[in-house]
């Protein structure tokens, strides 16, 4: 049996997580997920599907069936560049891009995104910077990102950085809103909802 290379892909119903689909479908308008007819238009439209480990069509089927672990640890959702080509062509009006976002959020909250993959690190760093200052400082974001993923890339990118600097297209100024207190109270008021979302995501993890 072990000779057949697909043997380790077999899952039994007891290993699946039936709540996963419900969780993902809880985004506004997300219930359309259940009307997928597996036509594959999304995968055909997606400019990134050749680089994905599961195509968008497969991911939709896997979410619906409850392959939670496989979806959350796959590269697919993080390779989605959010170009919405799938969403506008889907014959059943499934918000595929938004479903990819929902899966990314669950992966971030449960810490189950693919390890050593740079995209979630960038998302997390971007979020933290904006949460704190209200604006993103592109240079600092990239420096923090490279330090966390591959510090050697700072050296590799130095040439490009210098050329940008010379043309006034890069600065080391830290951008921020003026009314930081106001921004913080808005974010604080949403903290409860944010934590509830996080709790429900980690609940279904087990």
């Amino acid at each position: 049996m072990a000779e057949w290379q697909g043997w380790n892909k077999i899952r039994y119903e007891a290993q699946l997580d039936p709540d996963f689909a419900r969780d993902i479908a809880s985004i506004p308008g997300g219930e359309q997920l259940f009307s997928c007819i597996q036509c594959g238009t999304c995968s055909g439209m997606c400019p990134l599907s050749p680089y994905m480990d599961y195509t968008p069509r497969q991911i939709i089927a896997m979410i619906r069936a409850g392959f939670k672990g496989e979806v959350l640890t796959s590269y697919t959702t993080w390779l989605c560049a959010s170009c919405y080509a799938c969403t506008v062509e889907c014959p059943n009006e499934i918000k595929i891009t938004d479903i990819m976002y929902a899966a990314k959020r669950v992966a971030i909250r449960t810490g189950s995104y693919p390890k050593r993959f740079p995209v979630p690190v960038l998302a997390d760093e971007f979020f933290r910077g904006v949460e704190k200052n209200g604006r993103s400082s592109e240079s600092w974001l990239l420096i923090r990102f490279f330090l966390k993923t591959n510090p050697f890339r700072i050296l590799k990118q130095a040439g490009l950085g210098l050329r940008l600097l010379r043309r006034g297209r890069m600065s080391l100024k830290k951008e921020s809103v003026r009314e930081k207190v106001q921004l913080r109270s808005i974010m604080k008021a949403l903290e409860k909802e944010y934590m509830v979302e996080m709790a429900s995501a980690s609940e279904v993890k087990s």
Partner: protein, 301 residues
């Protein structure tokens, strides 16, 4: 009459030439843009991967500030960056269509003494230029026509997807309309809304660069002199990595990539420095025909 304007983070750094040329262009059209006071990030792509609700709240704060700064009804907010444009348009839709989102967001804004009253209308400069000002009015102001210049108009993904508010989703034409009103020739190409790779050029570089290279080589194959874009990330990806792309993929690429506002500004007689031409990495080249016609489009760097 002036418009309220949301720059976004990129237009203050890598996309500075976009802001400079946009402001100069609208000034020359006598419709100055006034920056939204104390604006914050639009909560685009990377942010939404962490929290959707907080992304909508960020947008709603911008709307609330816009409504406070301007009392017009509806008050237009001009948003040039494609990612910011989509982020804000998306929030606008969700706040209208999903009452539970609106209620949560307004409660959070209330905690900071702000309120979203649904009066803001998010508009892209392409929309304003074609539908408010009009191609004819622009054509009548052309001082240095772009005759002979072959332009590939590249929209990228998020300007017309998933919401096509001012142009066709599959075959957008606003940028072509504007370029033709300046006297340029536009090339016909099928992938003007294909994704450039977005931030993947920084994260999973080999994949991101491949996507950008497809756009550039397809445009070059059709014989364009210049690509114009309406998105700071598209412009950055297509322009700044050309050397690197050429070392990995074939054919090598060497195509100037400008903001549509830069070409428009030049044609309307705005000095090159004011449209940020000195910030280009791949400079414009003299026209093959040797004509100076194209608004003095060739630049000595």
């Amino acid at each position: 009459m002036s418009y309220l304007y949301f720059p976004g983070c990129s237009l203050k750094s890598t996309g500075r030439a976009y802001e400079e040329s946009l402001l100069a262009l609208f000034r020359s059209l006598e419709k100055p843009l006034v920056e939204l006071d104390d604006w914050n990030c639009c909560g685009a792509t990377a942010y939404m991967s962490v929290s959707e609700l907080k992304a909508f709240a960020l947008c709603a704060r911008n709307f609330a500030l816009a409504e406070r700064q301007r009392s017009d009804d509806p008050s237009d907010l001009v948003v040039p960056c494609a990612a910011c444009y989509l982020g804000l348009v998306k929030a606008m839709h969700y706040l209208k269509e999903h009452l539970n989102v609106l209620e949560k967001v307004n409660r959070a804004l209330g905690a900071a003494g702000l309120e979203y009253t649904n009066r803001t209308k998010v508009r892209h400069p392409l929309d304003v230029l074609v539908n408010d000002i009009g191609a004819d009015a622009i054509a009548s102001r052309v001082r240095r026509p772009l005759t002979g210049l072959r332009v590939a108009c590249y929209y990228g993904c998020q300007l017309v997807r998933p919401y096509a508010l001012f142009d066709d989703q599959h075959e957008p034409v606003t940028m072509e309309t504007l370029m033709q009103s300046l006297g340029a020739d536009v090339i016909d190409w099928p992938i003007k809304t294909r994704c450039c790779g977005g931030s993947l050029t920084g994260t999973v570089q080999e994949v991101g660069l491949r996507l950008s290279h497809i756009i550039l080589s397809e445009a070059a194959k059709r014989g364009c002199d210049v690509i114009v874009t309406a998105c700071p990330l598209c412009q950055f990806n297509l322009e700044c990595y050309q050397k690197k792309m050429s070392s990995i993929f074939s054919p090598p690429v060497d195509v100037p990539v400008l903001y549509f506002t830069q070409l428009m500004g030049m044609a309307l007689g705005v000095p090159q420095k004011e449209v940020g031409l000195q910030r280009l990495m791949v400079p414009l080249k003299p026209l093959a025909t040797g004509e100076v016609a194209a608004g003095g489009i060739y630049v000595n760097q």
